[in-house]
Assembly symmetry: C2
Homo-oligomer: 479 residues x 2
């Protein structure tokens, strides 16, 4: 038998007139003659031409959408429209049947994204989700490549943790105790000393604190792993389980941190534009069609590819929180009381509507906001000399809002302990974290990028459940 | 100020006589003149020469092991032994002090691995753990590179799951229910419908089943993420949280699966031999010294580098379980009743002692064992025509035992359901999994590689807690 080749390879090769075997799934079969075969290597199908007259009728009947087949024959130039080459089948074998009466993707009408979410185990087989998850792969690889090229160390920070890293939100408990009859202390409390880890444990909300330990030895590290929030938010923007990338760098001031984050995001976009153009084009077309359904004023003025290239080729705007407040206070929607939360003055926590105004209306560019009031940020952020603001930076993206949150970290032991006490963070429990400030402390910075937020931006999808293979949300943990 | 350069860059560059700024941590300071500076980019230190006579005595006192410093000056050829170049400091700044009375790594005696496990947050700063975790980074990158180069799709399978994938072991519960007063059904059972996900959920033991869903769309996928076992095993080989790599490939028979696994392992070894030679050499020396403490007959006959090159350049032995039983039954330790578990005949589950005999004594090579009795393997493995054995394959490594477990999967719907029923696997709950066999099933295979097992092999370390940054084990979830 001739060598098995992937569809992507055959379609991208200039060669013709050679023997090949292909294996994949039937996307369509028309005129009892033309099979569109997909093997997952690309969204494009290979046309297989069969000689219906000399093919068993029973076999022909089994060539249905979704069936797995193996075909061998000559790769030849195609006479038909839409493809350069096709495979003239000499042999054809059905590896696995697919009953057209039962197959959910057999539907003549295009299945909705909502319906496909219910059959997430099969949605990979559609063009849309094929494109999305090949891009997700590339984006993940680009993350590793970016940091590897720069000498960062990939640090696997723990998933099960006894510490609530930053008070970042509600946590999931991890336990092996008998829920029906847990051991109790004399005082009647649950006795977590009897639990698997000998203490109360949760799923991590962030690898940052452990990441800082790594940065203070390797200089530059990053994490890339699952993180969790037990928030009961059933929205298109929230997941209970999502992936996050958290680099942490010794000897980086806030400016270095911003430079790195901007270079990082641009390198991700550059990578997929180079490696996933077909899939991006497919999603761009999908998005353009979706936009057509919207009223004129809600449509985006840029297509998906344009938007990616715009971010790639423009510097992000960098302004302080204080400057942003001035802009917002004086903005039309604030003066006309169109904001739901009006900006009265300095100190206000920015809402999504404000971030979107800055990014989408005022600057029309990604914006990095820095130096937020200390009251609305985490304990570990470096206090500025004004004693009012911290060296935080949030990167805001059009349509997405905050895509990166980061800061220069407070490296001074005394100041950090003071902040922890002010914010009721347990100093004793984080004694190991404080050791980085006790022993050879140094200026350092880091940030977190929500991987699914980035996926939303590069795919043009609007529901975060459509960019992770198996979404975990309140009341749902299917598959 | 001159540009900040990493120590690795300065030491690997042929240039001399140029200005540079370096930042890092003091490893040692001798004669009030020579600082050995480490910045985590390499195990090698940069010698910084300071002009003690013209340096403030108070500053000199603060140059202690562990202190973070910044130094700038000329990179010049070194007169001293042990280094090609050194930095003649013109300016020196202490960024963070390190009290020699309190710093745990200040010890004059070499700290033990056991002690370093207790201060895992600081052990990255030692040569041994610097080398280990730079290698861990490279090994992880090599995983992604191998699969990316071959067109595999990286699939993030879920961490929180409602299914017990393969009955692979004890699981951790994930819950937000109030442990003190959980909601109950009328029958008095815990009412998991009230839990966050609306059902009982656990931490995943394997991404395989979800991986198969991906393979039946993308053709070839892999996972690389944390997996969990709530087994109360306090040994040098077990972790409650560990990382696993699980590729899953449509249209692969068992032979293709073995070919891929062997090529994969060799590419990992080849990658680190190419990129981490200094760190490997350091660990090889460490291991050789450790071996010297052992009685002659317990010593390994190969050094670390030799062992890696041996695996790289030799084909793995491939034999069936049945052949292995014949060898073991007839072996000296079996005949002399030296095995703890004597091999009486076909059907016996192989113990570590048997695996080690095959790999370390009989073949003296990595061994792939195939076609195990169905009774001792999982439900999803393809049944052979003999109706007795399944198309399983385990790869056994010297000193490690099983490093890879895999199989061709049962693609036949009826046979698979029969096996599930025989083995009391709930068919209804895995209806989504069975859909891969209902709709366009195809021969497919996959395997799992325990990342920390591989780390043990390539680093020569013997305790698995020393090759993961923050080990999770019974009664321990520090940091």
């Amino acid at each position: 038998m001739s060598q098995r080749l992937k569809v992507k390879q055959i379609l991208s090769d200039d060669k013709t007139h050679y023997e090949a075997t292909v294996k994949g799934w039937v996307r369509s079969f028309r005129n009892n003659q033309f099979i569109a075969l997909n093997d997952g290597s690309t969204n494009n199908n290979l046309q297989i031409v069969i000689d219906a007259e000399n093919t068993d009728a029973a076999l022909l009947k089994r060539i249905t959408t979704g069936a797995a087949i193996s075909a061998a024959g000559q790769v030849i130039p195609s006479m038909g429209k839409g493809q350069r080459v096709e495979l003239k089948a000499e042999t054809l074998e059905i590896l696995g049947d697919c009953d057209p009466e039962k197959y959910p993707l057999q539907l003549k009408n295009k299945p909705s994204l909502e319906y496909l979410r219910e059959i997430a185990h099969l949605r990979f087989r559609t063009n849309t989700f094929g494109a999305i998850f090949r891009i997700r792969h590339s984006l993940a690889f680009a993350v590793h490549k970016f940091f590897n090229d720069r000498g960062f160390v990939y640090l696997h920070t723990p998933i099960v943790t006894a510490s609530d890293a930053e008070g970042a939100g509600e946590m999931f408990r991890v336990t092996t105790l008998d829920m029906k009859n847990p051991p109790r202390t004399e005082a009647g409390e649950i006795d977590y000393k009897e639990d698997f880890f000998g203490r109360s444990t949760n799923l991590t909300v962030s690898g940052q604190l452990e990441g800082e330990l790594g940065a203070m030895a390797f200089g530059e590290i990053y994490t890339f792993g699952p993180t969790f929030r037990a928030e009961n938010s059933n929205t298109a923007r929230h997941l209970a389980e999502f992936w996050m990338i958290e680099p942490e760098m010794a000897f980086y001031a806030l400016e270095d941190n911003m430079d790195l984050a901007e270079a990082f995001i641009k390198s991700l976009i550059s990578h997929i534009l180079e490696h996933n153009r077909e899939d991006l084009d497919f999603l761009a077309t999908r998005l353009a069609e979706e936009e057509k359904q919207k009223p004129q004023q809600e449509r985006s003025d840029m297509g998906l590819i344009e938007k990616l290239e715009f971010v790639l080729h423009n510097e992000f705007v960098r302004i302080t929180y204080t400057e942003a407040i001035d802009i917002l206070k004086d903005s039309k929607p604030n003066r006309n009381k169109k904001f739901q939360y009006l900006i009265e003055g300095w100190g206000a926590d920015l809402q999504s509507e404000h971030e979107r105004y800055l990014v989408e209306k005022h600057f029309r560019k990604p914006v990095i906001l820095t130096d937020y009031p200390k009251e609305i940020k985490s304990f570990y952020m470096k206090l500025n000399d004004d004693n009012k603001t911290v060296r935080a930076m949030d990167i805001l993206f059009p349509g997405i809002g905050e895509i990166v949150g980061g800061s220069q970290r407070e490296e001074d032991y005394d100041k950090l302990v003071q902040r922890m006490q002010d914010m009721h963070v347990p100093v004793d429990e984080l004694s190991w974290y404080l050791d980085t400030r006790r022993f050879g402390t140094a200026p350092h910075s880091g940030f977190g990028l929500g991987f699914e937020r980035m996926m939303l931006f590069v795919t043009g999808m609007t529901n975060i459940r459509d960019v992770i293979p198996f979404p975990r949300t309140p009341k749902s943990a299917e598959f």
